[in-house]
């Protein structure tokens, strides 16, 4: 996907990006932003918005609708009550981009002055669909390996090393486990399934590839981990084993860094161990400012306010660095990524993102989650062998498309 044109625009804009924002600011645009953030994230976001408002004289109305954000959007946007912008991982782009009557997303190619080149390549890809620019990225997320340094001398580099450490501890009868890992969630499981190069969803053919040999191989590796986790694959039941110090490892995301840091004295994070020398290719989500279709009919000042905030936030090194430090956000702003002044934990995640792939944005991806979850559950419960489970999931997904 070429971003040349955008780059050109961005080039033009970047000269006077501050100036033009300031100019718009005199008229004082207002935009609404919907978020669904945790308390700490929310506070930080609020203060950044304040900062932006004072710098730009635009007004941002930040709202935090309850429940599932996508369900809220589903009803709000068609009835014209939706937000101008919202923050979520990039994987909704495809799903919303194909909506036509009414449209859900706004192509901001002409309104964004910043060149997309300032972001990492994966991030650039993530926010575009069919050549349209639907948002700006500011962080990525994926899962990596947490370990308790009191229990693990040396972070494992290979799958076998990890297994041997787990063998050492795993003893459920006495409340000890090898691993905390919500294994039936495809997002968490994706890394191992795709470790051998198979794709859960092939972005070229727009088909799932679950029944491929590579995926099955990856699945076999994953299945070995099933024996080391508490019997309840639910997120909360899993994390508690590690948090209580009853398991040496956890596979989880950066959002847990802060919490686990409080509970585990010597917390370490590293990339997932290699399987047969392959790095697990975890799915990563790119946190994105979405531009909603509400902007199509809005005043230019509102459009400027919404895009202005996104540009300001996503390209502001200070913001991105602070976020990396305080929230565990993995930067996607190239300058910060390359700068390297990041904590070890964040670096580990950043590295894992490098190994991984962004969650495909194509709408067909939507049909993948449920069958794959069920397949993983069946295998986890011992109701089915992993091979047939993937075959079944693959055919179910094809059927549903």
């Amino acid at each position: 996907i070429s971003t040349g044109g955008d780059g050109g625009d961005g080039g033009d804009g970047s000269d006077g990006s501050d100036g033009s924002d300031g100019g718009d600011g005199e008229s004082g645009g207002t935009a609404t932003l919907w978020t669904d953030l945790s308390d700490g994230e929310d506070e930080a976001m609020s203060s950044y918005i304040d900062e932006y408002e004072s710098e730009s004289s635009n007004t941002i109305e930040k709202n935090e609708p309850g429940g599932e954000l996508d369900q809220q959007l589903e009803t709000a946007i068609p009835s014209g009550e939706g937000p101008d912008s919202w923050i979520w991982a990039h994987d909704w782009i495809g799903r919303f981009a194909v909506r036509e009557e009414p449209p859900f997303l706004y192509d901001a190619s002409d309104d964004v002055d910043t060149s997309l080149d300032v972001f990492t390549e994966t991030a650039q890809e993530a926010v575009q669909f069919d050549g349209a620019l639907h948002g700006l990225p500011f962080a990525s997320e994926t899962v990596a390996l947490f370990y308790n340094e009191d229990m693990v001398d040396e972070p494992p580099e290979t799958f076998e090393e990890m297994l041997s450490v787990m063998d050492e501890y795993h003893d459920p009868e006495n409340g000890e486990y090898g691993l905390s890992y919500p294994v039936t969630d495809p997002y968490f499981a994706s890394g191992f399934i795709q470790a051998y190069g198979g794709d859960i969803f092939d972005t070229e053919s727009l088909e799932n590839d679950l029944d491929s040999e590579e995926c099955k191989q990856g699945m076999d590796a994953l299945e070995q981990l099933f024996d080391y986790v508490p019997a309840d694959p639910g997120y909360e039941s899993q994390i508690v084993a590690f948090a209580d110090g009853a398991a040496p490892f956890a596979i989880n995301g950066p959002w847990e860094i802060a919490n686990l840091g409080e509970e585990i004295e010597n917390l370490g994070v590293t990339t997932l161990p290699t399987v047969d020398g392959n790095n697990p290719r975890t799915y990563s989500g790119i946190q994105t400012f979405y531009f909603s279709a509400m902007l199509s009919d809005a005043d230019q000042s509102a459009v400027d306010a919404a895009t202005g905030l996104a540009e300001w936030y996503t390209t502001n090194e200070e913001v991105i660095e602070t976020n990396a430090e305080e929230q565990g956000y993995i930067p996607v702003l190239s300058s910060v990524v390359e700068d390297g002044d990041l904590s070890a934990d964040v670096q580990a995640f950043a590295q894992q993102v490098d190994h991984g792939v962004p969650i495909p944005t194509h709408p067909n991806m939507n049909a993948v989650w449920t069958p794959l979850t069920e397949a993983l559950t069946r295998v986890f419960n011992g109701n089915q062998e992993s091979g047939p489970a993937l075959d079944q999931a693959a055919s179910e997904i094809r059927e549903n498309q």
Binding site: E74, P230, A231, G234, A367, E374, N381, N383
Partner: protein, 330 residues
């Protein structure tokens, strides 16, 4: 009754004469506001839902935004051909039946015990026992989800583990021990058991208050007559207590059964109707079609069928359960 004698003063009588129907019908005026409010907020959405079920809407937005087209009964045809629909239906009815039976027994037991002359402080116990009524379902169900965790350290598995420890220290035979951890949420029937337990827990308070009310209305002399007639405890229960609470229990059963049929939060919060959609109660099924598979029209059809079933169930219950006794003649 002195029908035309009641009078709400001049204003009302003037109004009465202006009515399009005869004077004795002015009671209708008192009823109409409720009917209007009810129809516009409760009946209308159902009609609307029915309309959606006739369209090819894929997601909520397409209905609201007007992007859906009428396709007649196609959704219904598709629905009847979907094995998951039939599986959902039968699981739902099974869930309704089993939880109903269990909750009747549980509630009758509790009500009897907490109305028994020998129990000291029963009034307080009765107040305590219905506390679940006060908590929102989303909360209690989430809590129950936690208790039923498959993990060995889940509440029930821990308790069973302790039980095992005690039993094996008493060197009890193996059959009396449980195979912990039990996968309450990962086994088909284990999950079903968990649903039923939770559903019973949610519904028993309502039943208990109704039964307690009924028990308190049973004349003491009936018990004594039966005693003099030579009836023992069990027979008295059968001939005096049971008939006295039969009506209320039936009433509460019908109402709670209809609620059970529409249970959504339990399966959704526990394991999304799992494992592997095996315990997908009907509303969960409809919800999933709408949300996960973007089949909004189909989803509406499912829900319309569910509503029809509840309506049918209520109709039958009302007809044959004597629920509308006292509705009286026109």
């Amino acid at each position: 009754m002195a029908s035309s004698q009641l009078d709400a003063g001049d204003g009302l009588s003037r109004l009465r004469s202006a009515l399009p129907f005869s004077g004795r019908d002015w009671g209708l005026l008192l009823v109409i506001p409720g009917v209007v409010l009810f129809s516009s907020f409760m009946l209308y959405p159902i009609v609307y839902l029915f309309y959606i079920s006739l369209t090819d809407a894929t997601f909520a937005g397409s209905v609201i935004g007007g992007g859906a087209e009428l396709i007649g009964l196609e959704n219904y045809v598709q629905l009847l051909g979907d094995p998951q629909f039939w599986s959902s239906m039968s699981t739902t009815w099974l869930f309704v039946a089993v939880s109903l039976v269990v909750k009747v027994f549980v509630a009758v037991g509790i009500a009897l015990l907490l109305n028994h002359a020998r129990v000291v402080g029963k009034r307080y116990m009765r107040a305590a026992v219905i506390v679940p009524l006060g908590f929102p379902g989303i909360f209690t169900i989430t809590v129950w989800r936690g208790m039923f965790s498959d993990a060995r350290f889940g509440v029930f598995n821990t308790l069973l583990g302790r039980y095992n420890d005690v039993m094996s220290s008493l060197s009890a035979p193996q059959v009396l021990l449980f195979d912990v951890p039990i996968g309450f949420l990962s086994g088909r029937w284990e999950a079903f058991f968990a649903y039923v337990t939770t559903e019973v827990w949610l519904a028993y308070p309502f039943m208990v208050i109704i039964i307690v009310s009924a028990l308190q209305d049973v004349p003491k002399s009936l018990h004594e007559a039966a005693m003099v007639d030579g009836a023992g405890w069990l027979q008295r229960f059968r001939t005096v207590t049971l008939p006295a609470i039969k009506g209320p229990v039936l009433f509460a059963s019908i109402l709670t059964a209809a609620t059970s049929f529409q249970q959504f939060l339990i399966p959704w919060v526990f394991n999304q109707g799992g494992p592997a959609r095996k315990n997908e109660l009907i509303i969960v099924y409809g919800y999933r079609e709408a949300i996960s598979f973007n089949e909004f029209g189909l989803s509406a059809a499912i829900l319309i069928v569910a509503i029809a079933f509840v309506g049918l169930f209520m109709l039958v219950a009302v007809r044959y359960g004597g629920l509308a006794e006292g509705v009286g003649e026109e």
